[in-house]
Symmetry: C5
């Protein structure tokens, strides 16, 4: 865990050491730093850090909510199709259901910057895949295919117009979820804020190390390093949470969620086999 | 109540005692720790703890809102059926109403990791139960049955297509509530944040016990233990609130809410008997 | 106002007095308490109190929003009926409008734990009242009657099916508002949090009274009592806000709001007489 | 700007002066007040003030959002009418559009406690105005007229029933916005909270003036007055923001927004003349 | 980056220097300022600054969400048209799709105070452009054209009435997004709050420079300047975030988002060429 803030902690260690060394050699020349200065700086940093943590957590939690909506709307889509169509359309329902599974995997890959076509989900027909190649935004192309499948059902007279509109609304919600996930993924969190925070933490540590120079180095250095590690780790946690689709352990587990959707859809379709659910991670390191 | 933080408080007690002992034996060797250091740490911890409490409370409150929506939509489902269907469909309405009661109990059990089939609610027909056995997600399977019941009513011509769409929307909202409760249940709150907090609390207590070593042990130890207990109890409260479906006293009372829904639905159906409401807990210990 | 925290302030007065007395008699034996300890505790308490105040206020404000929605949907219901039905159904519209007024009063009474049937609103027909007696949840039973009135209009052919669905949506929103108000009313706010707060405030006051023992009692005691009163009054305000349907002055004024709805509905119906609006309270004591 | 807190600042000036005078005359009799006491009080006040500012700002911002929705739904209403009705209904569209403009002005006046009928917008027909006189809530009466105009269009067969339902939804949203604005206007913000804050600020200033009595009066008095002014001005800002419809400079500019709506609607209707937009205030004093 | 707060930092530098100079010349005449005064002021400023940062960030994030909704609804509009209309209406779909692209660019320009007609998107027909000239609010006029195109499709019988209503809902959402973006753009954030903050920061710096006058100028001046720069930069960040449509680097990248929409729509329409996506800025300076 400390690996992640090695650099920062190292710098802090060096600062502490050099100020202690200075104390021995040029004792009396170092400024008197009242402890009130770093104390107030520490409080200010806590407040600014708390704001940052709060915003990052909200981004992460919104991303999780979006994928929760995707779970709900994927299930709803299949239940609606089964409710609206007579049993002779069993195969079309399965086709749309499978495409929905593929969409979930594709959206997850696409958010993480991977090419969705390299994953073989076994859920897309060959002609669907070939149509995807021309599109930059594969999940959007798959939603278009879903819309055209529903159009074709409506044109065959299999689907009442009101029921069709309900399916359409479910698709609208899926397009919304996709767009919201993309928004979180592409919006850069103001980076200057983090620079100010780091600057403030270093300023705090320098003033603190001067202020407590009378404390023996054996106590002072670990204290400085621990407080520094604490601040930098909270900052790092916030940094990791704010971009939840980056192939990091703190990511929203998009593939595991897509797997859950696959299991749910296959069971709703009455199929006999489905993949194992992804193992939940027992220990969650940010 | 203090039982819950026994371990932590014990450690604090030991720390306080050993630093006091040290003061007597190696007096003069212990570092001078200005009180400003633990004071600033205590403020920082309060701020981080406040953020954690706030997020945990929001998870808990969202879980409570979700079950509030389930109450509303369950009532709405029955009122809508009675409003849309002529009185000759009384029995189908009762069947769907009873299945809705069973769904509520099943969702509650399922969220708590219990097998919904072991609870005999007397609300499901034998054929419904047999169909459930193949499904991993029993509440989802029950929603599917509700959708198919409504489909069958529509196919018999008992239900206007617009009214049907309204019932469908109520089911969509129930699927949403289910998915949102599952989301809260399966999303792990970043655990590292809690580790940092604990580390910070211990660091705070160690520096505080050094800083106030001049205070007599008879006053110092209880003071340390009380402050430690306060921090650890707030942290524990936050920890318990953040997972509201774990069979703990601070849980959302899902069974009691399902009972309320059962009473409401049975009275709306004009039935003669219903269960007693669950006794509200008079004292709520987290 | 101070009546409400008399007990707590009395305890504080006693603490201050006894520590001052101690200072005179065992002067020199009392521990040295650096002011930093109560200062940090006071900051921590402010932060935790601020979180509590914030959550309580949000519950209160949500309750107010719910009753705002009830105002809107009650007005909407009448405007919709007048828009959808031809003028020959004037009396049915009046009947539904009056029942809506009765529902608002009944929901208010029911939330406050009063029996809605004891209030004579003059808005319900005798047969409606008799049907209510069997129901535990009177407002829910009244919504069911509204739904059946609308059903009967639809069966007479007076109401287009699309318009009917709009009325149905308005009823769904009213059921939602009812359920949300009940949720706030029945959900116990974690009481342990308040216990911790009180413990922390007493700990703060004890350490503060030791820390400022050198200040003369004539200044110390009022200072302690004022600070204590401030903390306990903010806590009491939060406590009162968090349960907004308890017959307290800080309650949401449900009866006054129901009165406003009655006036609005009677004027929309073109009636000649309506009650006076409830006098707004000029001074609002929590 | 300082005019607004003259009284409070005057009191603070007097306090500072009298404590300084006391220092000269009874020097040695004044209590020793450690600076920690006012410092902690100042922090506590900042936290409570920050909560108050935050809630007030949210009320103000919600009020602004409500008027934003009114802009959107007013535009939508006209665009929908033009889209649903054939061009021969041009005049009815204009009539409804003009009534919508009148509604916006009337709602703004009504929220500010002015009589909407005294403003001559030139947008209402004589018969509309005469019907208004009997109603206490003029904007609600205007919405009822809009609903009846739409009803009359539907009865003439000019409006498809589905399209009619869309118009109805737009009206429902307008009724909602009206009710939400009224809710903010009539809900008294808990006044006791503000009393506590003021008491705390005075307590803070008294303890601060004792604590820094050694500082020369020429520096002490301005310092006290500036800090007091800062706290009281933030409190005043919060106080002004919390009631956004009171004819104050910090109000939501309801008349200017209604003017914007008038311009938009008149241009959508293809009219040749429209009023000038209200000048934005270049400097915004709270 | 420091360029932006040059003025403020310069003033701070001057203050620090003059107080240091004063210390040398009139040493002993300068007041004793306990460090507690600036420390408490610094904490208060952090809290008020944190509130300001939080509100500004929310405005900025809301603006980003609005443009995310515009992305979603623009895609939805095209997918819906393709799903509802038979393939013979290919050209009308393309026309509406192109107008939608033009609308996005026009809204972005209009929010930034630029004239939308000066940008040649190649997406509008000549007759559309000519109709725009009379309108002040060009994006609103374009939405009106979209509504009339859909009306014309409906009148030709190409569009089922239910499907038409779905398209209409998508347009309503676009009007909403437009209005919400305009609301953020035209609502002035209470400027007095910022004045108080600046006053408080200067007061803090003056008291701090007096309080630490014993620290040597070589250490004192940089410390003052760094702390001042930190506060002013956080304030500047908040100031820039609060108005997200002002042609600043921290703006919502409305043109880049409109470009994305153009690419998506052109690919959905099956066109062969589309513009390059806008390069994401690799370093984001506020």
């Amino acid at each position: 865990m400390f690996k992640k803030v090695r650099l920062e902690v190292g710098v802090v260690f060096a600062i502490g050491l050099s100020f202690n060394a200075l104390t021995y050699f040029v004792s009396g020349r170092l400024p008197e730093m009242p402890l009130g200065v770093p104390a107030f700086l520490g409080t200010a940093i806590s407040i600014l850090l708390s704001f940052k943590m709060s915003q990052s957590y909200e981004r992460w939690w919104e991303a999780r909510k979006i994928w929760g909506s995707i779970v709900n709307d994927s299930r709803t889509l299949v239940v609606q199709l089964q409710s609206y169509l007579s049993t002779e359309y069993r195969e079309v329902i399965a086709e749309i259901g499978h495409r929905q599974i593929a969409w979930c995997y594709a959206l997850g890959d696409s958010l993480r910057g991977l090419n969705p076509l390299t994953r073989d989900t076994g859920c897309l027909r060959v002609e669907d895949i070939s149509k995807l190649s021309k599109h930059q935004n594969k999940p959007l192309a798959l939603v278009q295919q879903q819309a055209l499948s529903i159009k074709s059902l409506a044109e065959q007279g299999a689907l009442d117009v009101f029921c069709r509109v309900q399916l359409d609304k479910t698709l609208v919600r899926l397009v919304d979820s996709m767009g919201r996930a993309e928004r979180i993924n592409t919006t850069v969190f103001p980076v200057t804020y983090r620079l100010f925070l780091h600057a403030a933490i270093y300023l705090f540590l320098i003033t603190l190390s001067i202020a407590i120079q009378d404390v023996h180095a054996i106590f002072e250095i670990p204290l400085l390093v621990l407080i520094a590690a604490l601040f930098f780790l909270v900052d790092k946690t916030a940094y990791n949470l704010q971009d939840p689709f980056r192939n990091r352990p703190s990511d929203i587990p998009v593939t595991a969620i897509a797997r859950t959707i696959e299991i749910n859809i296959r069971q709703l379709l009455g199929e006999e086999s489905w993949p194992e659910p992804a193992k939940p991670k027992t220990f969650f390191i940010l």
